[in-house]
């Protein structure tokens, strides 16, 4: 079992790092770099949302943290001269800290009440970005520099993006690497005692606290990790677009992060990754249907949820049983 997992991971990494660039090289579809980079980054944010689902909370507010992370990174780079590589973890940490402050009061809520509050967060963040002077209101922050060189002890790990022949390839590598790290963290959480504790929260908070689990603390930690992922994804995105506006992440993005989890499967670590891939490509593939795109897309989503309420990955369990 363990061995089989290792083989699958090696295959996945070979596909992501070697297979995809090769296919793109052969087919000449370089636009796929951008698409797959987006999928990778969006799946990090969705992975965060998935973790809040895992402790039994419906999170429709990840867009708020993506936006906050984006602005933190943009402000640090353009106004304080930070390098992108320093701003990236700081954006994540800022979001985690923000999540602790916001989470302490709102994580007491359950079910639809928590969901409603998180739904508002994205809009609050957008209005905040509009109102503050440091975020430059509706004008947003533009001409954000490309990521520079990343070196540790004089060894260049990542070359300066502006010297790259094709920065898109650089972003693709970065996004895929971040995604693999993020999902490795999630996998480790779920498969250690932490996951056990999270499941105990999800299934019965009262009982969890009566067996001595500090439920409030665990909830806040999980929410902070979730928002850290959101911040990282947001900061990476604005490095690609080199600009950020209050509308860069909207309520609809928050809803999509949640849908990605539903579609892929809430019981599976890789659910949000698969869900993001399918939703993103599904939408793109339906582009040719013109004005019926949204109609067909949403009908398909509803049909999928009716047929596979536990997500696409539940097909695996069905085969086993």
């Amino acid at each position: 079992m363990q061995k089989k997992n290792l083989v699958l991971i090696a295959l996945f990494m070979a596909l992501a790092y070697i297979g995809v660039p090769w296919i793109i090289g052969v087919s000449g579809r370089t636009d796929f770099y951008y698409t797959l980079t987006s999928v990778a980054l969006l799946s990090i944010a969705s992975g965060g949302v998935w973790l809040t689902f895992y402790i039994g909370r419906i999170n429709i507010g990840q867009g708020a943290y993506a936006l906050a992370g984006g602005y933190v990174s943009a402000v640090l780079m353009t106004q304080y001269g930070f390098s992108f590589w320093a701003s990236l973890p700081l954006a994540g940490l800022f979001c985690a800290g923000l999540a602790v402050l916001i989470g302490l009061p709102i994580l007491r809520l359950r079910g639809v009440y928590f969901a409603m509050v998180t739904l508002v967060l994205t809009e609050v963040m957008r209005l905040t970005a509009l109102a503050l002077s440091i975020t430059q209101g509706a004008k947003g922050i533009t001409s954000i520099p490309l990521p520079g060189e990343l070196s540790v002890f004089g060894v260049t790990l990542v070359p300066d993006f502006s010297t790259m022949e094709n920065p898109k390839v650089g972003f693709y590598w970065m996004a895929v690497t971040l995604m693999i790290i993020a999902f490795a963290v999630l996998w480790r959480i779920v498969n250690s005692r932490l996951g056990h504790l999270c499941r105990s929260l999800q299934q019965n908070e009262e009982l969890a606290s009566s067996i001595g689990v500090n439920t409030a603390y665990l909830r806040v930690i999980a929410y902070a990790i979730s928002s850290f992922f959101g911040g990282i994804a947001g900061a990476s995105f604005i490095a690609i677009s080199q600009s950020i506006y209050p509308s860069s992440f909207q309520v609809v993005d928050s809803v999509n992060f949640m849908l990605n989890c539903f579609l892929g499967g809430l019981g599976y670590v890789l659910g949000p990754m698969l869900g993001t891939l399918m939703l993103y490509f599904g939408w793109d593939l339906l582009f040719t249907t013109g004005k019926y795109q949204l109609l067909i897309y949403s009908s398909l989503l509803i049909a999928l949820m009716l047929a596979l309420p536990n997500g696409v990955l539940s097909l695996l369990d069905r085969k086993k049983a």
């Binding site: 480790r188 067996i211 409030a216």
Partner: protein, 260 residues
């Protein structure tokens, strides 16, 4: 005999309703003490006050002389006072063994961070919890359902699982909420035996709330009787059966007759 748990002048008001009114009694170490009373007498509320799931309006609960009322439930659990619930309160989507393993949380030496990285302490904990869970499974005779999903279990097994969850926390005092409810005579006798063994073999002090009078009379060292939120009697099963106030309280209610 040493006093382990002390309930001192505890009162709980919900708006205008006084659910528990100035109740005092103490529980000795190694004792099985039952709290009985007609429906709505405030038994469940009292349990929630002792386990800090509710905060008191006045008065306090002491464990070994230290106040445990008005704390967070997980802190009280950490001190050694653990409440089990009626049968529906389990981790439904886990197996029996997983339910018991996760309930060992209080015994863990490793930090959450340690569990993430799989530190030496974390691995020692995991092995420890597994072994202890197996011992509890054996103690309660749950071997046949070790790997069953909790959601699929029949009532009797769920009750035993609830007790297993309580045991896993290694409590000083176990609060059992209606452990015999809905059981037939044989099942009740089995459970009575189990609760006794809990005390005799594991040294757990047991406080229980129960309706089943024959079982209560059989199992209890002492009994506390509540009516309309007030303590009306306290004493050995013999004393309680002959107490006029108690008889009056029960004759006044239509649902339960005191088993004599």
């Amino acid at each position: 005999m040493t006093t382990l748990l002390q309930i001192k002048n505890v009162t709980k008001r919900f708006g205008g309703l006084t659910a528990v009114n100035d109740v005092s009694f103490s529980v000795n170490a190694g004792e099985i003490l039952s709290v009985i009373g007609p429906n709505g007498a405030g038994k469940s509320t009292l349990f929630k006050l002792i386990s800090s799931f509710l905060s008191t309006s006045s008065g306090e609960v002491l464990l070994d002389g230290q106040r445990i009322s008005n704390l967070a439930p997980h802190v009280v659990a950490r001190r050694g006072v653990v409440r089990t619930f009626q049968e529906t309160t389990i981790f439904r989507a886990m197996t029996v063994r997983e339910n018991i393993i996760v309930s060992h949380h209080l015994r863990s030496n490793a930090s959450l961070w340690g569990f993430f990285w799989g530190s030496r302490a974390a691995r020692a904990d995991e092995a420890d919890f597994g072994a202890s869970a197996d011992a509890i499974i054996e103690f309660l005779g749950l071997e046949s359902i070790r790997d069953e999903m909790a959601a699929t279990l029949p009532q009797g097994h769920l009750r035993a699982l609830g007790m297993a969850i309580g045991l896993a926390t290694d409590p000083k005092v176990l609060l059992l909420d209606e452990p015999f409810a809905g059981m037939n005579h044989d099942e009740t006798m089995h459970m009575v035996d189990l609760v006794r063994r809990l005390r005799d073999e594991r040294g757990v002090t047991v406080l229980l709330v129960e309706h089943d009078m024959p079982a209560v009379m059989k199992i209890s060292d002492r009994i506390v009787v509540l009516n309309f939120g007030e303590k009306i009697a306290e004493g050995s099963p013999q004393d309680i059966q002959n107490n006029e106030k108690v008889i009056e309280a029960y004759l006044g209610s239509e649902d339960a007759a005191i088993g004599m």
